[in-house]
């Protein structure tokens, strides 16, 4: 088994050596092109298309949470709060909910005639990112002074607080007879994105939705990759590895952690805003504690700290949750003579998957490069000898 692995590694190294230097860029370009033409292979209103859109939006959230949990090592169990805030940003800035206001910026001719605040989706996206980043800072300031498990407990509480506020927002009056949220009734009739030229965003043609969330994914992916290989990314990993050593190297503890938390929050908010408009309603019931765990499971199944892992984890759970279980395998229990549908036990299935993963591949589907090194690279015997013969510490004297 280990011989086989060594052989595989050798082949891989040989292949890597033969590839030209522009190989990785070409591959990235190819993947982007495939991503863009993908929807033409499926009917524009199919269940698979719907599942793909949701899965890509999950991947965006998973990438955001990966910065917080994977890079900076801050276990955040309240990520649903930023999904909620992002969705509400859309509800507030892209619907007739604040009916006394009359604000219209770059929206469709129909929306222009309606009361309320109607901004173009790009502006809402930016606003959602900023609102969530600001909320991340406010939540993070008291929280991130704690360590380890305590962070998890306090973020969990903040997540619940925001969701509770959303549910009870009907009784929070903001003036003029308007309330903060519509509680479990939901803010509905939110604007669909309006980008002349791409096509109309409606439920009979899902392709424009897909391209929109795919573009968001590319932006978030780009930011993730850039941050990972930067001064900031190294600082996060240093803090994750050893907080005391990191601050002694000149890394400001609170500021650096806050940045991770705020950026993660901003990405969650962007995805939340997309979900708001895609589901056409912003309902307090959408934001459950279980969703925080669901996103965390994507990060862990993908590989904690791994960017591509977060994408794959998000897509995988997205497809399983929205396509495989409800559309493909749902009737299996009935066929076997049981009296239930598979969707009724989906949480059991996810739990089972997590356990299987932890047993068979605890490092995740696509482990972080560092962990891969930890698991594979070993000091060879020849190296050990070198150390012994070379001996003394201290530098050239």
């Amino acid at each position: 088994m280990s011989e086989l692995r060594a052989q595989l590694r050798e082949w891989r190294a040989a292949v890597d050596k033969r590839l030209p230097p522009w190989w990785s860029r070409a591959l990235a370009g190819l993947l982007i092109v495939i991503g863009i033409v993908l929807p033409f292979l499926f009917s524009p209103a199919s269940a698979f298309m719907n599942a793909t859109i949701i899965a890509v939006a999950y991947a965006v959230m998973s990438l955001g949470l990966n910065i917080v949990v994977g890079f900076a090592g801050l276990l955040d169990l309240g990520y649903v709060a930023f999904y909620a805030l992002g969705a509400y940003s859309l509800g507030w800035l892209g619907s007739g909910f604040f009916f006394k206001a009359q604000v219209h910026v770059l929206v469709s001719p129909v929306a222009r005639t309606l009361p309320g605040v109607h901004l173009n989706f790009i502006l809402i996206l930016i606003a959602a990112a900023l609102i969530c980043a600001a909320a991340g800072v406010v939540i993070g300031l008291p929280t991130l002074r704690l360590r380890g498990d305590y962070i998890a407990i306090v973020t969990l509480a903040f997540g619940e607080i925001i969701v509770t506020v959303a549910i009870n927002g009907q009784s929070i009056h903001v003036g003029g007879g308007m309330t903060l949220t519509a509680g479990n009734l939901g803010i509905s009739a939110v604007d669909a994105p309006y980008f002349p030229g791409i096509g109309s965003f409606n439920l009979l043609n899902l392709r424009p939705w897909y391209w929109l969330i795919f573009a968001i994914l590319l932006v978030v992916l780009f930011v993730n990759l850039r941050l990972r290989d930067s001064r900031l990314g190294r600082a996060w990993i240093a803090l994750r590895e050893d907080e005391v050593a990191a601050v002694s190297m000149g890394i400001p503890l609170v500021k650096t952690k806050l940045l991770a938390y705020a950026i993660g929050a901003a990405f969650g908010g962007m995805s939340g805003a997309f979900f708001g408009t895609y589901y056409t309603v912003v309902n307090a019931g959408q934001f459950q504690f279980g969703f925080s765990i669901f996103i965390l499971a994507m990060v862990i199944i993908g590989g904690l700290g791994s960017i591509w892992g977060a994408v794959v984890g998000g897509l995988a759970l997205g497809y399983i949750n929205n396509y495989l279980i409800p559309d493909v395998l749902n009737s299996i229990p009935a066929k076997l003579g049981f009296n239930f549908q598979l969707t009724a036990v989906e949480f059991g299935i996810f739990g089972f998957l997590l356990v299987i993963m932890m047993v068979l591949r605890p490092q995740g589907l696509i482990p972080e490069r560092r962990r891969r090194l930890e698991l594979t690279a070993e000091i060879t015997a020849e190296d050990a000898q070198l150390v012994e013969t070379q001996g003394p510490a201290g530098g050239p004297t």
């Binding site: 930067s230 001064r231 240093a238 601050v247 000149g250 890394i251 930890e374 050990a384 004297t397």
Partner: protein, 266 residues
């Protein structure tokens, strides 16, 4: 510069501790300790286990706040400064039990040491303008130079720190500390776990570092051979109190020091 009433020290003090006390609840870990570290010198801090040496180090680098007293870096009061700010002002350290970032390579560890001297922020890191690219390249280059300087084999530069042998880990830690371009380097038992030849080599390397990099070095050390060989001044702590201070020979002859180390003779 020096407070009224005390005679000015012979050389400019890079670091000065004034009546520093640290209490953990009722336990007095460091009790009213004052000392100077003159510029461009190597000063040793010695004492039996539990004498408060590392606690003092932790106060000097901002990890602990002194209960009483002041710490001056040059003319700047750093008593209540955060560790990262103190690093920015030119203090770097190593740790008694090595604290490298295990999941990062040797080069990356040293690059983290550069953190305080780099400027790329959030947007710089995302958009990576030419000056950030340059900074990143120069940092990587400088990190490799530093690793070569402390005597690491190039073969292991891109190995994870956790997979390096002990001696190499010690070297990487020193390189990481040097990366922040300190004026004052604090070494916490750098020869721990080394054999006599290795200790001897490190002793010489400390002198070389001081001269090459215009450093001042403050050292916690148990190996008396190293202490006597390398330091210009020695400060002795026992039960948190300073019991002696002076040149190595003086300190070695001090009856109080002998008593602290060997016990009172009947």
């Amino acid at each position: 510069m020096s407070p009224v009433g005390t005679p000015a020290p012979p050389a400019v003090a890079v670091l000065r501790a004034e009546h520093v006390t640290k209490m953990f609840g009722g336990l007095v870990a460091v009790n009213d300790v004052s000392f100077d570290v003159p510029q461009h010198s190597i000063v040793s801090l010695i004492g039996p286990n539990g004498a408060g040496k590392t606690t003092l180090f932790n106060m000097l680098t901002g990890l602990y706040r002194p209960t009483e007293g002041r710490i001056l870096l040059g003319e700047r009061d750093i008593t209540h400064s955060r560790p990262d700010i103190i690093t920015r002002h030119g203090v770097a350290r190593t740790f008694q039990n090595i604290r490298l970032f295990g999941a990062m390579t040797a080069v990356e560890n040293v690059m983290v040491g550069h953190h305080a001297r780099m400027r790329a922020g959030l947007f710089g890191s995302i958009f990576r303008p030419p000056w950030v690219r340059r900074e990143e390249l120069q940092t990587r280059e400088h990190a490799r130079e530093l690793l070569a300087y402390v005597g690491l084999r190039e073969l292991v530069f891109d190995r994870l720190a956790s997979q390096l042998p002990y001696g190499d880990q010690r070297r990487v830690e020193i390189a990481r500390a040097l990366a922040s371009q300190p004026r004052l380097l604090l070494l916490d038992e750098p020869t721990a776990g080394m054999n006599p030849q290795e200790s001897q080599a490190l002793t010489e390397f400390m002198r070389a570092m001081r001269d090459d990099l215009k450093l001042t070095i403050l050292l916690i050390e148990h190996d008396m051979k190293v202490v006597m060989g390398v330091s210009e001044r020695v400060t002795v702590l026992d039960y948190g109190k300073k019991i002696a201070e002076g040149e190595p020979a003086e300190v070695r002859a001090d009856p109080g020091v002998i008593e602290a180390y060997l016990g009172k003779q009947a």
